[in-house]
């Protein structure tokens, strides 16, 4: 009885969500990078197989309407999507960290202004705002990256602000002020490391959102442009022969789902890890 309970607790302790998330993310990255290097067909290779061939050992995911290997295209598209997501999250999280840290640490009217602006921005779906912005800048991968990146700043800023405001009043931060640490040093050396468990989980969920946003925008034709391949773009194309060659849509869709699943598991796992730390610190 007691043994079973201990074992159950140990099982609960082991953060399976995090482990699965890590394995899945690492596995997908490996497949995308390795596949792009090793797979014999190129994404743009017309006539690599017949038109709309069903999946086989030569063409794992079959071929599309001009005989391109779908697996190669999914690999290439996933690479593009990941690249866009990486850029977006980099801009969004660094910008958000900067804005949120300053707002949360100093508080007051600065905090009010920054957070009201961020509220205003988050009131609209970011894809919608991105579409509006793209109508001015034109489509293209790098435009997607910086526009989505900027639009992601508020959600990261919110999390960073909360963490910095929480830590600002802790005794160890007061102590740092007493020994004459500069504000910059307090934010960077004393607070930032303590916000990482929470912030990392937000970064992971940011990847998740970025993958979906990129796929949506490319699906609508405003994101990545031909001849570049992206998962959203492929989904849009595959609609034309959804009933003749469902494997194109299914395998592309599955790739999106897997990516999103990997990142959200990672985020959940990190969050759980962060919560456990905080709970542990409270108990002791």
């Amino acid at each position: 009885m007691q043994n079973a309970e201990l074992r159950a607790r140990a099982m609960r302790r082991r953060n399976f969500t995090l482990i699965i998330g890590l394995v899945l993310t690492a596995g997908l990255l490996l497949v995308v990078v390795g596949g792009n290097l090793l797979w014999p067909f190129g994404a743009a290779e017309i006539g690599a197989g017949g038109r709309l061939d069903s999946p086989s050992l030569t063409h794992l995911f079959g071929t599309d309407h001009v005989g391109r290997d779908v697996f190669a295209r999914v690999l290439d598209g996933a690479g593009t999507t990941l690249l866009v997501a990486l850029g977006t999250v980099l801009i969004g999280s660094l910008g958000g960290l900067l804005v949120g840290a300053v707002a949360g640490y100093f508080g007051g009217w600065l905090d009010e202004i920054v957070m009201r602006i961020s509220d205003g921005l988050t009131a609209f779906p970011s894809v919608l705002l991105a579409l509006v912005a793209m109508s001015f800048t034109g489509a293209g991968m790098w435009n997607v990256v910086w526009i989505l990146g900027l639009l992601f700043i508020p959600s990261f800023a919110r999390v960073a602000r909360g963490e910095f405001a929480r830590c600002r009043n802790l005794d160890y931060v007061k102590r740092a002020r007493l020994i004459g640490a500069s504000h910059l040093r307090i934010m960077w050396v004393h607070i930032l490391p303590n916000t990482l468990p929470v912030f990392l989980s937000t970064v992971a969920i940011g990847f998740n959102n970025a993958v979906l946003a990129e796929a949506s925008m490319s699906f609508l034709g405003l994101g990545v442009q031909q001849p570049q391949v992206s998962l959203g773009r492929m989904l849009a194309d595959s609609q034309g022969y959804l009933f003749n060659a469902p494997w194109v849509a299914i395998s592309t869709g599955a790739a999106v789902v897997l990516l999103v699943l990997a990142f959200s598991l990672l985020s959940d796992g990190l969050q759980r890890k962060g919560l456990r730390r905080i709970r542990f610190l409270r108990k002791t």
Binding site: D171, Y172, L178
Partner: protein
Amino acid sequence: MSRAILEVENLNAFYRDGRTRRQVLHGVRFELMEGEILGLVGESGSGKSTLARVILGLEPDYTGTVVHHTERPQMVFQDPGGSLNPRMTVRRTVEEPLIIAGGYSRAERAEMVREMLGLVGLDERYLERLPAALSGGQRQRVSIAAALIRRPQFVIADEPVSALDATVQAQVLDLLWDLHRQLGLSYLLISHDLAVVEEMCGRVMIMQGGRIVEAGTVEEVFDAPEHAYTKQLLRASRGSC
């Protein structure tokens, strides 16, 4: 003749509570002499911690004068869990004031940290530990070491033992007492525990509702209290023992 190292004159402090500005300290004045342990007693919410924060320069909204005749005082906080950065090792926590001050080589810092930890009764095994791997008493020792590493003459201890077990309380008080004797430290010792104050302090101030209602040597105040609030405090504390 000992000299004053802290003079507080006609101090009023305010606290912003939403839109209203509430006064939490009313005309506080006192002096702290070199090498003395001055007790500050009062129930929670009486303004003790606010007074400490004003003295330390952590509270911007006040009127009156606070004159320091020493370098900036350091503080030992109540909650030994919250006063240590959970991501910093013992070494890093104790070393940090030296890094900020600058002018010490790595080797000098390491030597000073080792010496300081020795003073508070921790050996080298603790250097690389994180706060989570320390007991409450050990954390408070680290906290004291970090406060003393730059050798301040004056330390404010805000309820330094009230979060600790009774036996550990005695050890930490002993440590504070030894450091007072060895280094000639002055303390402002904030406590709600009259027994602690009676044991450690020479003089004591009683605080109620942001005012110092009675002050004097521990004997005067504890043996012949004048203010009704002091009598009530003493009755409550002796009744409970």
